[in-house]
């Protein structure tokens, strides 16, 4: 299979403009003859549904939550990047592009990333017009801050709730279209399969999560805006219902899944406190601006942290990276926390955490100044951990936060299946092997408001308006039967272990072996363990309740089944990529000082996997899209 990125030719700055000029258009009177299904109502899905309905398409919107407003985009804290250059500090679209492609460790497409940087400015305009309450200066104009180690201040924010405010903007735009009849809105519906007729995506099968009824929906195009797959780790900062099911079922129908091993682990999360733990909570990265990270030098030192004198504290980031210190990028900070804990220096009841200490900044600036900056975060920490960070160091540990991998898409955000599109975190497109802070919101909204509504027209222009096969077409019947069979199978196993038990066990295998650092031996072992556990899942899982009723455990069972297959693919992908890049650290490919070594010669490609079946083991064929760099020079990252 040849993967064509369809990236337009010409100078970087001209590509998107040129493409927009050359794309086919659908006439206004024809737009209403097209049906478009959008699955997911986060930033990418909500914005796309609203914008396409405004254009005149008939949109059907689906989400698993009880309201579109609850999609997981809502939990994003930090902010959204755009190169408005309001602070006059030398920012530009080029610089935002360059930072993003470098931050992704040169594993993304130049054309896509440049477009993202270009479109970002329009997102800010749109959000402000909707009434998104971004932070402002006393003069009434928008405020910016520097975020995630960027050298310019380009991040727009709404306190620590930027995701919530942007999502509500998109949700409200969406509800306006529901009111005007442009969107048919279906909350509490889960997509269980995509329907393909004559090689084109023509509809989906959903389960009504209240009645349990399976339903068939026909359309001219299907958009998956269904988020990332971080919950394969069981514990992550993702919302509990976030899952890979829509993307994975599309993958099983032929859509390629790209770079599944690229997973971002955020360094500052509240550590696990026990087996009952259901999720992990992120603490904003900004804490590392003033907090100092350390562990005791001596193994098993069980003194209270305040009783350990400075010379017996190991400020490992400051010692190893004198120029960046505690502000090294996310991947470096996460990896080093794991290293010290693996050496037995970790603290807390489980030994799986490190200190983040504010003693010195409180002494220097006073408690009040510190409270003004971080008060809400300190309160949140105390509420969850039960310890007062003004009086003793916080304990933190890395947690899975974002997945850069996802469905393979071309420049038009279309998968290799004509008519099937993927946007936001569900696709693989813009962040390469590592995502920079404040870039997820930017990508979701760029895809949703501006890119997809333009590129989908180019596809639909070639689809005869009003083409209908009818939902009694065999492809619909078969797809529904497949979904029904799986539900029946899960309910009939009647085994001894709960779904949560399986998911937690799977998550531990994935975290231990496909987490912060990977190596060949562990990855091979993980593949075996995943296969064995998957086998047991299908013979020994207990799924309570009925199918024709509200049944959250049945929903979870189907999602965990998909995680079991995805996990194996992640391990395969990580095994295949014999280099270290971005968040993917292969222990065999690092320098003596423990720095990542990238191999551009052999691995400067997107790994796009084609599903071939599961039979004890997962069968997948690797396809490669080579990444060409015309405009930037590839460099090794160093933070020493």
């Amino acid at each position: 299979m040849k993967l064509d990125s369809k990236a337009p030719e010409g100078p970087l700055e001209e590509k998107w403009r040129k493409h927009k000029k050359e794309m086919k258009l659908v006439a206004p009177n024809n737009k209403r003859k097209y049906e478009v299904i959008v699955v997911g109502t986060g930033l990418a899905g909500g914005a796309a549904a609203a914008s396409m309905a405004e254009l005149g398409y008939n949109v059907k919107s689906f989400c698993i939550q009880d309201s579109a407003r609850r999609a997981h985009s809502i939990a994003a804290q930090g902010g959204i990047n755009a190169a408005k250059n309001y602070p006059n500090d030398g920012d530009s679209i080029w610089r935002l592009f360059y930072d993003t492609i470098k931050g992704g460790d040169y594993r993304s497409r130049e054309s896509n990333v440049y477009r993202l940087a270009e479109v970002a400015n329009e997102i800010i305009d749109q959000a402000v017009a909707q009434g998104v309450p971004f932070a402002r200066e006393y003069g009434g104009l928008l405020a910016n801050r520097s975020f995630g180690g960027a050298q310019v201040s380009r991040t727009f924010y709404a306190r620590g709730q930027t995701g919530q405010q942007l999502l509500l903007g998109a949700y409200q735009a969406m509800m306006r279209q529901v009111n005007e009849g442009g969107i048919e809105y279906h909350p509490r519906h889960e997509m269980l399969d995509v329907v393909i007729i004559d090689g084109q995506a023509r509809g989906i099968i959903t389960r009504d999560l209240v009645s349990g009824e399976l339903k068939r929906w026909e359309a001219d195009a299907v958009v998956l805006a269904t988020g990332g797959y971080g919950n394969v780790f069981y514990l992550s900062t993702n919302a509990k219902n976030s899952n890979v099911t829509a993307a994975w079922r599309a993958h099983k129908k032929g859509a390629l899944f790209a770079n599944p091993c690229y997973v971002q682990v955020h360094p500052t999360c509240i550590p696990v406190s026990g087996d009952y733990q259901s999720k992990l909570t992120l603490m904003s990265e900004s804490l590392r601006n003033d907090g100092r990270v350390w562990v005791p030098r001596k193994k098993g030192d069980d003194r209270h942290p305040n009783d350990i004198p400075d010379e017996e504290r190991f400020y490992y980031l400051e010692e190893k990276y004198p120029s960046f210190g505690n502000l090294v990028p996310r991947d470096v900070a996460s990896r080093n926390a794991k290293i010290v804990c693996d050496e037995g220096l970790g603290v807390g009841p489980t030994g799986l955490s490190v200190y983040l200490d504010f003693r010195d900044v409180i002494k220097r600036d006073g408690k009040e100044t510190v409270a003004a900056k971080y008060g809400n975060l300190f309160d949140m920490y105390e509420n969850i951990a039960g310890e007062n960070p003004y009086e003793q160091p916080m304990r933190i540990y890395p947690a899975v936060h974002y997945t850069m991998g996802g469905l393979w898409v071309d420049y038009n955000l279309m998968t290799n299946i004509p008519g099937l599109f993927a946007t936001g975190e569900a696709n693989f497109s813009d962040h390469g092997a590592n995502r920079l802070g404040a870039s997820a919101l930017m990508q979701g909204l760029s895809d949703g408001y501006f890119v997809l509504p333009a590129t989908i027209g180019n596809y639909l222009a070639d689809v005869k308006p009003g083409t209908r096969y009818g939902t009694d077409h065999n492809a619909f019947v078969e797809a529904e039967k497949g979904a029904q069979d799986q539900i029946d199978k899960l309910l009939n196993i009647n085994g001894k272990r709960t779904i949560v038990d399986f998911h937690r066990t799977l998550g531990k295998i994935v975290w231990d072996n496909i987490g912060i650092a990977r190596n060949k031996e562990d990855l091979e072992k993980a593949i075996k363990e995943i296969q064995e556990l998957r086998e047991e899942f299908w013979t020994n899982v207990y799924v309570p309740g009925e199918k024709n009723n509200f049944n959250k455990y049945l929903e979870f069972a189907g999602r965990v089944a998909d995680f079991f297959e995805l996990a194996e693919l992640m391990a395969r992908d990580a095994l295949e990529r014999e280099e270290s890049c971005g968040c993917h650290l292969r222990e065999e490919y690092q320098s003596e000082e423990g720095e990542a070594i990238r191999n551009d010669e052999d691995f400067s490609y997107v790994a796009a996997w084609e599903f071939k079946g599961v039979n004890g083991q997962l069968q997948e064929e690797l396809h490669k899209e080579n990444l060409e760099f015309e405009f930037v020079e590839l460099k090794q990252r160093s933070y020493k």
Binding site: A47, A50, S51, E54, Q65, D66, S67, R70, A75, K84, E122, I124, D125, Q126, V128, A129, Q130, G131, P133, F134, R136, E137, Y138, G140, L141, A158, R159, Q161, Q164, Q165, Y171, Q172, A173, M175, V178, P187, V210, K240, N241, S273, G274, Y276, Q277, S278, K279, T281, N383, I384, A385, G386, Y449, T498, D501, Y542, P544, N549, F550, N551, K552, Y553
Partner: protein
Amino acid sequence: MSKDMTIHLKYWKQSGPDVPGHFEEYTLDTVNEHMSFLEMLDVLNEELQLKGKEPVEFDYDCREGICGSCNLVINGQAHGPKAEVACCQLHMRNYKDGDKITIEPPRAAAFPIIKDLVVDRSAFDRIIEVGGYVSVKTGSAQEANALPVEKEKSDEAFEYAACIGCGACVAACPNASASLFTGAKLAHLNKFPQGEVERSNRAVAMVDQMKEEGFGDCSNFAECEAVCPKGISISAIAEMRRDYIKALVN
């Protein structure tokens, strides 16, 4: 490490909207002070399943207090005993060994029960649908800094915009009114010049829809403000009423 606590639970079970419900009881012996309230319910459900019993259904998603999915009424209080904390962020250290805890769904005519502790809050969507937005199409926005907005106003707008749509305000109100929810959205949008244009129409449409959905009127009990996990002020309701009356007489 802390010792495990014993907690006596009494929770609502109801298999569907049109059948009568009842309380069930269960005693958990392994509750840890670090667990969140919802993690305690996860443990309950694991135990129930291992004993071949049906788990209790409840809504949740982010478990960080921001998505607004969870909305349990705990010992008669929406979101439980801690001020400005959604029940997903309530931790068991707020309880002691031997405590009895009763868990109910938020009860309101406009929030029919789907199952157990899960209710249908789609009425909130419909209130937003009729006017909870600025009518601006994608692409038609002006430059973001073209319209300055006083910092104080913008900050105040944020306070109202922080609503997570959980419905605790409705659960706590003796009239099951959605005035705080509706008022908060109006107050948020009205603070901006962009929102000012549709101010009157928005107030009328949203307030009328609120009545249509079967929510009660506001009688100034202020219970909503007391339970709101985001601490939203009832001054939003006063503003909503002024705007509504003004719109009707104009």
